[in-house]
Symmetry: C2
Subunit: 439 residues, 2 copies
């Protein structure tokens, strides 16, 4: 420790940027230890990203899948939180510059997660809908409903389809789950809400560049997902290369085109980290290379966890997949290693315990790959619900979510079809999105 | 009916502006009748305004107290909804001009409710927080939490009190209930969330111009409310005339001043109606004078319901109070009268059945005036909860709200302390508040 006071030894300061799965797992592991842990986040809540698509489709309240960070830390004297935006890391001075001033650290942990990867579609970003945050999920919910209201208000004879059609780029879990939920709304909800609309005009199209959905799962799961979505009326285009979208018409390289106001971009994510660190960045995913202790090569006191870390090993030439379980396990492992450090014990390298992965397709249908086994149908759907509920933070959120699911199941409804803040596409400036002025 | 087709007699078109308590009560009454009813609203949901203060204080999800209008109308063939902004009524042509084009009517019903009355504080409006809509409630929730985060981030020694203090103008039910909820948060929630803040610096001040709280209720209730709030640490200033607020310091005519960033204006409401009607407007409340059939004097086919109607009778020289039960009963009565009309029967004048009124002060405490009797304490609190839950639309919202209350009761918590869309005070333009650009 650099500047210990003469009589009162300074407690080592662990500064964690990002209160996502990884940051919170680390902080919890370090409670009641000799470390002081400060969590920084630009939001005052943790987002359970795997369920954002249910917020976007009116199945769950945003409040159910977001959890106040201060509530996680209540009563834990050595853990604290600051709501702040990081501007730059200055490792030479062991300080992080933020919008609320500089904050010193002994150990720095970068757990800033990922953001949407638009690849070569960055120019079209202002036309695209994302699904990586609670405001984005609420914007998508509003936007789809606004377009339905607009279509309903069109003079007779004018074509409604561009307002009703929805394109989704990316056949990973987010794209598949969102497409399934929208397919169910088209079948069970929209016809009752909009008896005057011709819903045969509405197309839900899921585009995937590879030759199968759910690339991270076994072939059997991909096939099940494809069949399930098709049964729900979703058009799935595989090996589809999106070529252009001008806010009006989506086109692919093989000549397919879809007139749509709504194109949801779920094609990938990339690491999102602050300036100031001199590290090797793995291209493609934009992730920081780390060793098996989640340490950045060349630093002894800076660590990277979760989506933003690329731990290159013999088995993981491009790092572990960007998934919640990896983030949680890395957070816990770093916590254990810091405790070992404080006891003078040797650090242990990270080993990922892959419990499998899963995606839901719709009512009674999911695909689960768990401990080397494939599950489908109703059993998989129950497993999916159980696991997601267990990962939700807090008893209130668990119960509210369970109640929402029970209601949705028995009524075939998605009740939260509210346009609380109408959304307008414009040149996108993140700040403007997040701040509401006036009331 | 003006323009009946030769062989297919045209069904009379009832156009209702506003899907609040009054508009929805009327529409429901007219289902399966010979009328076609079109509801217009700028929002696609109905707001349960009496519980907005619980959204603002993190006790309930906004989704629990808002209800999609289309869901109310599902399966009712002669009722329909259009999301639109009314620009002007043109009674000579029996048409309403809107942002989606003109809409014709045979009977027009204005049920547009009320908006905040800033009295001579209109100039200061941009500094004030309102509580009349879901976005306003969410803005208030964000703003209070943002100020706490800011106070927590202040350098040591700098005064936190302007960020922590909260002023509330208006000792009616909204002001009293909000003050009580904030008093409880100060006692039970904020100390746990912000162990580093000196909460003894936080003042919650409720200002009322009259000499007692809850002016619409008996003296006994006023006294109970005053004592209850004082026990929760709320400073109540009676006969307080707010003189100035510049966004920093509130001052009254008798020399009291409070440094606060947050001043909530709950001092009154006024009728909010579209242009184009040539009617007598009752000053003060800005309400349209109507006869005992809710008809505007001088029109045979234009009606006004609820907050925006001033039905002047011998007993109500300034109209009935602006309360949900009045709006609901007037909506139902007009519905019954239109049914009578269609059967060639005579109309019946409106008679208000005053079941009483109520306000909650905090945990286990409410005041209820019901059928001429005063209730207080735990019994009144149960009555308050039961009545509010019954008025909420929809089974899902009832259950979610009840669960929220049970959780709040047993945990002493207000769990939804999320800053989803940070709020910034600026020159206020209603549009800018409601629209989010970018994501």
């Amino acid at each position: 420790m650099p500047t210990a006071l003469p009589d009162l030894p300074k407690r080592p300061q662990v500064l964690v940027i990002g209160a996502g799965f990884a940051g919170l797992a680390l902080a919890k592991k370090l409670k009641n230890t000799k470390y002081d842990v400060t969590l920084l986040d630009r939001n005052n809540y943790n987002t359970f990203q795997p369920l954002l698509y249910q917020v976007a489709t009116g199945g769950l309240e945003p409040d159910s899948i977001a959890y106040p960070i201060r509530k996680v830390l209540q009563g834990k004297a050595n853990l604290s939180f600051k709501m702040a935006e990081v501007e730059r890391i200055v490792p030479e001075r062991k300080v992080v510059e933020t919008n609320i001033g500089p904050i010193e650290y002994d150990y720095l942990v970068i757990a800033t997660g990922s953001k949407t990867n638009f690849f070569n579609f960055v120019q079209q970003e202002e036309h695209l809908m994302g699904l990586k945050s609670v405001p984005e999920a609420l914007n998508l919910r509003s936007f789809i409903l606004q377009n339905f209201e607009k279509a309903n208000n069109l003079p007779k004879g004018q074509t409604q389809s561009p307002l009703l059609n929805i394109g989704i780029v990316g056949g990973g879990p987010t794209g598949v789950e969102l497409a399934g939920a929208l397919g169910e709304m088209k079948q069970f909800v929209f016809p009752k809400d909009y008896p005057d609309l011709d819903l045969s005009q509405m197309r839900i199209v899921l585009l995937e560049a590879a030759d199968r959905l759910l690339g991270g799962m076994p072939d059997a799961a991909s096939k099940r997902a494809l069949e399930g979505l098709q049964k729900l009326g979703v058009e799935v285009k595989l090996q589809a290369k999106v070529e252009d979208y001008d806010g009006k018409t989506l086109s692919t390289s093989d000549g397919f085109s879809l007139p749509t106001e709504t194109l949801i971009w779920a094609a990938g994510v990339q690491g999102d980290f602050p300036l100031g660190i001199n590290a090797e960045v793995i291209r493609g995913g934009n992730r920081i290379a780390v060793d098996e202790y989640n340490r950045i090569l060349g630093y002894s006191d800076v660590f990277v966890l979760g989506d933003v870390a690329a731990m290159i090993t013999k088995d993981t030439p491009r790092g572990y997949p960007m998934l919640a379980p990896v983030a949680i396990q890395q957070g816990e492992q770093l916590g254990k290693n810091l405790i070992r450090e404080s006891k003078g014990q040797a650090w242990k390298p990270f080993r990922y315990l892959d419990k499998g992965n899963m995606a839901t397709i719709g009512r009674n249908k999911a695909v689960v790959y768990f401990l080397g086994q494939n599950f489908g149908g109703f059993i998989a759907w129950l497993m999916w619900m159980f696991v997601h509920m267990m990962y939700l933070i807090g008893f209130r959120n668990k119960v509210t979510t369970l109640w929402g699911w029970i209601y949705n199941y028995f009524t075939y409804d998605r009740a939260l079809r509210l346009i609380i803040r109408p959304f307008e596409r414009k040149t996108r400036t993140r700040k403007a999105d997040l701040v509401n002025t006036g009331a």
